[in-house]
Subunit: 247 residues, 2 copies
DNA sequence: CTGCACAACTTGTCTATACAACAGAAGCAG
DNA sequence: CTGCTTCTGTTGTATAGACAAGTTGTGCAG
């Protein structure tokens, strides 16, 4: 590859690091102007497209913001909101190096509750598919998954074997995920949840409410309740992640 | 601008939408190969750089993955992990259209507890700065912020007036954030927390443990505890967000 | 002074080309 | 058959140029 100066640094990376250092030291304060594409390309003796790439990637990382016709500026640090990654429970457990298994407790059709109806765009009390599954981390019950599924989008849901395949896997296959929203809450486990997770009635739980959409509309609505003493969500934020490409 | 076909669609966007449609309909299954940059540039009668941009952006969005010398492929849907945005409490409350205020309860130096010492890279029982603040959403106590601050990085912390400026704002100014990690847990409020948040002893709370870093190292370690019945975190995932640039 | 046209500068899109780095297949020498 | 080289196709980086589109200030006509 073409290198900037014999040492192995790529040109656009060198420019990014220069700008980042100015921002991190406070040398270029919030909302101050950064050099234009043309200025950078001249100072670093690179083409405009290379300078542009540096500015572009820093913008995607939230370090800068740009407006056409005006210029590029240092973004305000409060917009550096952390992003917490939410994975499905099976991946999460396997990532810990533990063994994941799931046990199906219930799989049926039932009259749609009001909350679920509005979430999935169904009519109250019309039939909706429902599955209840306990996820185990090395034989320890970790999460109770109560899932309502739109029967118009996934008519064969009740025929599946969810001891061998999680609903998440099945739904991903038949109705590819295009969109989802989540709510994270701390709740007290109800009697039902206590029983299946084998926890006491005063133990706080993390409840993730997840609604998923496919191309045609809302597909499923799920309560994922985890025992608070056994489960936590971890997140990470790094504003100067150097390599955006080539990972 | 140059447009692909009189109608106002940008060329690289048209290519992105074409690829996305193939992926979403399942026409191009997981791990299947997508056309190379050269093939796309020929099919769409654009330059290679334009085709490349489409593939590039889809890769950043997690729809594709690419390896040099091999090709571009459809990413596995399970890698579509949702990203939950964690903002600071003041922004969160203002975004709801409510009024945020904060009351300083305690601001002192104390011997560093073991957990904090290991988090901040300090020695146990050496002095560490500590602040305790209650955040209010329209007069209702919402979050208790217990924050330990590294005295070597922020020596003037105890001299600040945290009734007029939140610790987060002050720290952002004096030690720009470069990195942070978070843990989200569901916990039961202890007696102390109950008192300040005016909640009962069995009420579950969301506790966000946040550690922040600046250029020189760990800066602060905070427990942000919110009443579960009053607070929730919301997240959103959209795998086909069309406009990556120009927002 | 006001309002409009214009110039200068910025970012955004696109092209055509070149070379580098890498992976895998093909072909050849042993 | 084994091991090596070579070739081909792929993605990655970089260049130089062109035009489009938006913003802002300048200067001129009224």
């Amino acid at each position: 590859m073409q290198r900037s100066n014999d040492s192995g640094t790529l040109k656009f990376v060198a420019i990014k690091e220069f700008i980042l250092s100015q921002v991190e030291t406070g040398n270029w304060p919030e909302h101050s102007r950064v050099p234009s594409e043309n200025e950078l390309s001249e100072q670093f003796a690179v083409s405009r497209m290379t300078a542009r790439r540096a500015l572009q990637e820093l913008t995607e990382q939230g370090v800068l913001y740009r407006t056409q016709g005006v210029g590029s500026f240092v973004a305000s640090p409060k917009s550096q909101s952390a992003l917490l990654e939410i994975r499905n429970i099976a991946d999460e457990i396997q990532a810990r190096g533990h063994f994941h298994s799931a046990q199906l407790v219930q799989l049926t059709s039932l009259p749609c509750p009001t909350v679920v109806a509005s979430a999935l765009g169904l009519i109250r009390n019309e039939p909706v598919f429902f599955s209840l599954i306990v996820h185990y981390d090395n034989q320890t019950p970790l999460q109770l998954e109560a899932r309502y599924v739109n029967p118009h989008r996934v008519p064969l849901y009740l025929q599946q074997d969810f001891n061998s395949q999680t609903p998440h896997e099945y739904l991903s296959a038949v109705a590819p995920l295009t969109e989802a929203d989540h709510i994270i809450e701390a709740v007290l486990a109800d009697e039902f949840t206590c029983k299946h997770l084998k926890i006491g009635p005063t133990e706080p739980c993390l409840r993730l409410t997840r609604r998923t959409f496919s191309r045609d509309g809302a597909v499923s609505f799920a309560y994922l309740t985890s025992a608070g003493s056994r489960y936590r969500l971890g997140g990470h934020l790094n504003i100067n992640t150097r390599p955006t490409t080539a990972n």
